[in-house]
């Protein structure tokens, strides 16, 4: 055989481009992280290396990576919205909004002024201002790791991100609409105004119930839940684009709207993060890297632009952070930590810059200057954060919301649906998540245990609860439940004890004694949606248990009435078919005897040893 006649071609085509892309994703971040440079810079440099200004490894005219990058951009903005901690914004509303305005207004003003100094047209100058005014919480893990995430000012800075990024994206929508829209000024303004209105209504009024319903009806499989989330942001992006608003604005709003449905610590968020970190976001960053051109980046013009951007952005963020001292009573280290958190430019900045480039408002020099700004902002703020994190006083532990993380401990599968429905209702209110533990009795065969676990997983899927139940085997149910609650750091334990007939009677009382977190004991087998069951409650806010009951009741819609008040034992005995009683129990003596009749159920919250009540 003549070796010379073999047809061996140089690599080309989609498979080759994907291979090159994933090699950059694999190798880029770890290589630059060795030099203590954030991984995203490695992806940008990798994009440059494979791109037309580097080794030109991609086919000329190929749109594979840029097209995938567009999807990555939408994904990035969706993740930016969905992972924001709205609970912090709610908790520190006033300071978050106040600081949000400061940290938006100053960089916006400085950026617009810089554009005006350069003689740019107004739209370009405003877009520059808005992209400098946004920020990405790249360094939040540093604050969390240092135990200062609950510091009121740092929490306010995190909450402020919702405001800065939302306003920045609205500015982007208006500017991009005015550049690409056809017709006169009034028509374009009407189009953008109407578009934003429709987008807001769709994202915040239509999407959440639609997604919730889709999760319940279709989301029995994990993969389907993930695909529903992807479809949700793509749908919102399409609605935005129908009104000539950039799709990234829709994707970000979808993230904010789905925030409660996708808890940050939940399994769905893990999946979203997984695919985001593994594929979509790196692909976007690599596609931006394709634009990186050293011959443009290291030109005097580009470096001067970058210097101006850095000064306007860091200067504006520093002024805002410094003002937290007189306005919010921040200490020096707090103020600098707030500066470090709100300075990094990444997701929203890159997104707005990319759009500005695509609509012809920004040149390659501006894009390259922004890439320098991203690098400098991340490096400077990392240095400041690393230095200041230990100087911020440790805040007092924050009171945890009941629905932050509910743990359902099940010993009776027939009673599990009520406990899980209660957990779902409570956690949804706080954008929390549910863990489910099945107490497996020692001595039961592995096959039977697996069958029980499968049944419990089936109940989760049927009820639309995004949880992966696990089984913990022991001969001491209470100890196992306590260990699980401590392991998982639950904010509420729902002990599903069942009817007592083979349900491991009494263990939940011991759990309530041993745990600092509130425990709600579920007794009785009732498999009805909570909206269809007749819920009767007895909440007495004077006791901690009464407060827990009040919070549980607040999470449910349609509580029918109060219990009669004839004494809890009598009240429970009087329950009819399909009725659920939720009540605080203020002494240990009667708890063992409190059991609902068949066809009814009770949720009992023991008092006496809850936090703050023991001597």
């Amino acid at each position: 055989m003549n070796v010379a006649s073999l047809a061996i071609e140089s690599p080309a085509g989609s498979a080759w481009e994907f291979l090159v892309l994933f090699l950059v994703v694999i190798l880029g971040p770890p290589l630059v992280e060795r030099a203590r440079v954030p991984g995203l810079i490695g992806l940008l440099i990798g994009g440059f290396l494979i791109g037309p200004h580097g080794l030109a490894l991609l086919d000329e005219g190929s749109t594979t990576i840029p097209d995938l990058g567009e999807l990555g951009l939408l994904y990035l903005m969706f993740v930016a919205g969905v992972e924001l901690d709205l609970a912090l914004l709610r908790r520190h509303r006033r300071s978050a909004i106040g600081f949000g305005l400061l940290t938006f207004v100053f960089p916006m003003a400085f950026g617009t002024l810089a554009g005006a100094l350069l003689g740019w047209e107004l739209a370009a100058a405003l877009l520059l201002g808005s992209l400098l005014a946004s920020h990405t919480l790249v360094l939040y893990p540093i604050a969390r790791g240092a135990g200062i995430a609950n510091d009121p000012l740092i929490a306010s800075a995190v909450g402020a991100t919702v405001l800065t990024d939302t306003v920045a994206l609205i500015v982007l929508a208006v500017i991009s609409g005015s550049q690409t829209g056809s017709g006169g000024g009034t028509e374009v303004a009407l189009q953008i105004g109407l578009g934003l209105l429709v987008l807001l209504v769709f994202a915040f009024a239509v999407l959440p119930p639609l997604a919730r319903r889709a999760f319940r009806l279709l989301g029995t499989e994990r993969t389907v839940r993930y695909v529903i989330a992807v479809a949700a942001f793509l749908g919102t992006a399409v609605v935005a684009e129908m009104f000539e608003i950039e799709g990234i604005v829709g994707a970000f709003f979808a993230g904010l709207a789905m925030n409660r449905l996708v808890p940050n610590e939940g399994p769905l968020m893990s999946r979203i993060d997984f695919f985001g970190v593994a594929v979509f976001v790196p692909v976007f960053l690599v596609s931006v890297g394709l634009l990186l051109d050293p011959s443009v980046m290291f030109r005097g013009e580009t470096l001067a632009l970058a210097g101006l951007f850095v000064a306007a952005c860091l200067g504006g963020k520093l002024v805002a952070a410094t003002l937290t001292r007189p306005l919010f009573g921040a200490s020096g280290p707090q103020s600098l930590m707030v500066f470090a958190l709100t300075t990094p430019q990444a997701a929203a900045t890159l997104a707005a810059t990319t759009v500005g480039f695509q609509i012809g408002l920004f040149s390659e020099a501006v894009v390259n200057a922004v890439l320098v700004l991203i690098l400098v902002s991340v490096l400077v703020s990392t240095l400041v954060a690393e230095r200041e994190k230990s100087r911020v006083d440790q805040p007092a532990p924050a009171r945890r919301a009941l629905g932050e993380h509910a743990l359902v401990v099940v010993s009776d599968l027939d009673a599990a649906p009520l406990g899980m429905r209660l957990a779902a209702a409570v956690t949804e209110r706080e954008a929390g998540f549910v863990d489910v533990v099945l107490l497996g009795r020692a001595g039961v065969g592995a096959d039977r245990r697996q069958a029980e676990l499968d049944r419990l997983s089936g109940i989760c899927r049927r009820l639309g609860i995004d949880a992966d139940p696990v089984v913990r085997v022991s001969d001491h149910e209470a100890r196992t439940a306590v260990l699980a609650a401590n392991d998982l750091d639950a904010s509420l334990v729902i002990a599903v004890e069942g009817s007592g007939e083979g349900g491991g009677e009494g263990w939940s009382e011991a759990v309530a004694l041993a745990l600092p977190a509130p425990v709600a004991i579920v007794r009785g087998q009732l498999d009805l949606p909570l909206e269809e069951a007749r819920v009767l409650a007895a909440a007495d806010g004077a006791h901690p248990a009464g407060t827990v009951v009040a919070e549980l009741v607040a999470a449910l819609t349609g509580v029918a009435a109060s219990l009669d008040g004839d004494g809890l034992g009598a009240d429970l005995a009087a329950l009819g078919d399909g009725e659920v009683a939720i009540a605080a129990v203020t002494g240990w003596e009667p708890l063992a005897a409190l059991r609902p009749p068949a066809g009814a159920a009770a949720v009992l919250v023991p008092d006496g040893l809850l936090p703050g009540t023991s001597d």
Partner: protein, 276 residues
């Protein structure tokens, strides 16, 4: 790091950058600055007219076409009042001798060789090479294509594409002029000519005696060429991106090519070749 020290550094940085910004606007426009070779005039080079669908009219008086419309829109976007159209053979355009032309628009594909003598803007469309034949000529497979007499434009990328992917039995005839090339096709001197698909489709619309027999699988970017070393590339590229995003190019395609550039692509059969 005390806030004061950080603040002073930023202030100095801003002062320096601001001074640079103030030095006669050396940092240019956000979208890039454009400096025409003749003040107030955008000088556009193209190949001799007509290029059906892309340049209509005569060399002295262009009257329309997709690329002519683009040139007018480009001038408008750059704030230039006048457009001066000059023609020269395609083979000369791609050698980089644009004389004092600001831009060249003649369905030019950027290649490594051409990038040594020209600058290129962001592409304004991508299209596959197409096989233009007399109506009734079928080219179902590459074997049939090899038996035909081919025509290609001199110094076009089609010379290499035909040689590398078709391997015709007889040497293709190379034409300097599109008009002569088309006449050869109509007269039967050649059987098949290669053009960019949108150009081929525009020719078929104007002359029903011709038809598009097939397209190749690869696509080629089409971009505006600028003189080597021109500092106007960023401004032209930004303008192209703006025209792509605001629908200007779609409107021009609708008017001069009868619909979006990719519209008829799917209806054209694919000729499977050995490469690339």
């Amino acid at each position: 790091m005390p806030a004061r020290r950080l603040g002073i550094s930023l202030f100095l940085l801003m002062l320096g950058a601001g001074a640079l910004a103030g030095c006669g606007g050396t940092l240019g426009d956000a979208a890039g600055s454009f400096d025409p070779s003749h003040p107030g005039t955008l000088t556009v080079i193209t190949q001799p007219l007509p290029t059906t669908g892309f340049w209509e009219g005569t060399d002295r008086k262009p009257t329309g076409g997709f690329e002519y419309g683009m040139a007018l829109a480009l001038a408008d976007r750059l704030g230039i009042e006048q457009v001066d159209v000059r023609t020269m053979p395609f083979s000369r355009i791609v050698t980089g001798r644009l004389v004092d032309g600001d831009v060249a628009m003649a369905l030019i594909t950027p290649t490594d060789e051409r990038e040594e003598v020209l600058e290129f803007s962001t592409p304004y469309f991508n299209s596959p090479p197409a096989l233009l034949v007399r109506a009734g000529t079928e080219v179902p497979d590459v074997q049939t294509a090899q038996e035909l007499q081919w025509a290609v434009g001199r110094n076009t990328t089609f010379e290499d594409i035909v040689a590398a992917q078709i391997h015709p039995d007889s040497e293709p005839l190379r034409y300097e002029s599109r008009t002569v090339e088309l006449a050869a096709l109509r007269s039967g001197k050649v059987d098949v000519a290669m053009f960019d698909l949108p150009a081929a489709q525009a020719l078929v619309t104007a002359d029903p005696s011709l038809e598009v027999a097939a397209k190749l699988s690869q696509t080629e970017p089409i971009a505006i060429a600028l003189p080597n070393g021109s500092e106007n590339v960023e401004a032209i590229s930004s303008a192209v991106r703006a025209m792509l995003s605001d629908g200007t190019l779609d409107e021009l395609a609708e008017r001069w090519l009868g619909g979006p550039i990719e519209a008829g692509e799917d209806a054209v059969p694919l000729l499977r070749t050995a490469g690339p």
